[in-house]
């Protein structure tokens, strides 16, 4: 199993007025292709910042991020958007579905960026919704779905373009225990059976147990890793 994510000497500094806040300090990290990594740590430790940098939503102040040998920190904003469209699926804590679109139309959104026909987009969205067990709710608007169902729609949207990497920011943070379990099981399935590499930020230890590895961040530094690291190569904090 090769390395999918290579992070070298990664730093991120935010400027708040005249003040500079260094959120990440010289992070080095490799994540193997097909891994499922949980990223934990206290609030303000830099988890989401690291996740955003891996997903190409933000750019580092220093250091580099390579995903499948592509230095995404060197891509232009437009090129980065195109890279995200075909390589990354995002799952957010609050689902981030467009409220005026049906579940199916939400799932179809990333396919608007492809050359697929309307019929193909519809068919693919149906398949993705079936995979997450919501094909019968395709015509429902997000407000007509429970939190767990909305998150599953968001997962369907994340996988519709068949990306290699799933970036999940507190995907169960807004869900009850049962719905959280369903969502995590789904992510596990996508990782195990479909080979998706998953990087998930969570506060929840039970959620982290679904991952193959757990990384801890504290004050912007990777301090510890847990999980079956010996069994799987690629994670070297």
């Amino acid at each position: 199993m090769g390395t999918l994510i290579e992070i070298r000497n990664l730093s991120k500094v935010y400027e708040r007025g005249r003040q500079k806040v260094e959120v990440l300090h010289h992070i080095n990290l490799d994540v193997a292709d097909g891994d499922f990594v949980a990223l934990m740590g206290p609030s303000g430790s830099g988890k989401t910042t690291l996740l955003n940098l891996i997903g190409g939503l933000d750019s580092p102040t220093d250091g580099g991020v390579a995903i499948a040998d592509t230095r995404i920190d060197r891509l232009s904003e437009s090129a980065l958007a195109k890279w995200r469209a075909s390589n990354v699926g995002f799952v957010f804590q609050f689902y981030n579905l467009l409220p005026m679109l049906s579940a199916r139309k939400n799932v179809e959104l990333p396919l608007l960026l492809t050359k697929l026909s309307a019929a193909q987009r519809k068919r693919n969205a149906g398949t993705a919704l079936k995979l997450v067990g919501l094909d019968e709710r395709a015509a429902h608007k997000p407000t007509e779905l429970s939190g767990g169902q909305q998150q599953r729609v968001a997962i369907a949207r994340a996988i519709i373009s068949d990306p290699m990497l799933l970036i999940c920011d507190e995907p169960t943070g807004d869900l009850d225990r049962q719905s959280a379990g369903e969502v995590l099981t789904l992510l596990q399935l996508l990782n195990r059976d479909y080979g998706k590499t998953v990087v998930m930020v969570t506060h929840d230890i039970k959620a982290a147990e679904y991952a193959r590895h757990t990384l801890y961040l504290e004050k912007g530094t990777l301090v510890e890793s847990q999980g079956a690291m010996a069994d799987l190569p690629g994670v070297r904090p």
């Binding site: 955003n52 904003e77 958007a81 995200r84 469209a85 981030n96 409220p99 679109l101 949207r157």
Partner: protein, 384 residues
Amino acid sequence: MKYLDLIWAALFRRRVRTIFTLLSVVTAFLLFGLLDSVRNGFATAGQAGANRLVTASKISFGLPLPLSLYERFREVPGVTQIEYASALAGTYRDPQNFIPVEGHSDSFLDLYPEWKISPSEREMYLKTRSGVIASESLAQKYHWKVGDKIPLQTSFNRKDGSTNWTFDLVGTFRITDPSMQSSNGIVYGRWAYVNEAREKGTDTVDWFVLRVPDANDIDRVAREVDALSANSDHETKTVTEFAFYADFLGQLANIGLIVGAIMGAVFFTLLLLTGNTMAQAVRERIPEMATLKAIGFTPRIVFGLVMGESVLLLLLGSALGLAVAAAVIYEARSRVGYAAFMSPMVQAIWLRGLALAVIVGLVVGVFPALRGMRLRIVDALSGR
């Protein structure tokens, strides 16, 4: 086109607000349609008469000219046909029913092929001394039928001392050229009948119309015609029919300025209103736009989506507004018989209206679109 669903859904995300904004756009473009129809009517009046010259008194239009000029005009090289007319005006049954009447010479319909009339009614018109023809819309308005007698109360004395003139409706016509449609409200009679019956002004005419088929002859003919009465007590002024209309209407009002001022105020208000709506709509959807950008929508696509939304809003409203204006104009023209210098909703008005809608849409959309395009995903997602 594949983004249309998304744009449409975004537009009607706040249905009530969008409907109210749409109504204001509809109202603005209804007004635009009506006013531009008037402006267009003024601007194009008489355009069809490019090869016709109108000769009238130099002092004031309507001051009588001697009929004897007719023979002298015929001798001017380049003039192939001449007709002349005298006008009177009256009211039909009610003082509010103002009806202008023109008494024309026999060659009138030859010079005005835009007046479409059946051959039999044309023949009746030429045969009947007191005969008149009216536009189909005017006949419809007053419920006139061919064969009806049309009594008009005028301020023109007849030789018998009466001011009541009675005409026989012998036919109806339709004017096919939009630039001549303002003539729909006039009743056309026979000069010979008017001349014979009137108390004053015998053997005079109010104007001549000269056909000059060759455009190169127009200026020369006009000069030579006016030279024939130079330094007389009935000096003439000869201009093309188009120039005549423009001059005549210009004395009524600077319609372009009036329409421009009104529309300027309306569209300035519309810019503020729709601009505010678009800015608000985008502000509310910042997290959604951040999501779109996160999943791979490029800044350019996000910019296009907002611009598309703005232009679609304006296009929808303008199309509805212009359609309502077309219906109102159609109704007004068919009810009034003629709506003075209100042209039908010709293609040019539609195109001007829709082009204006696109421009307003682009102007009001550009700042919200730039905001959507430039937003930083991580800031927008975290609500900063």
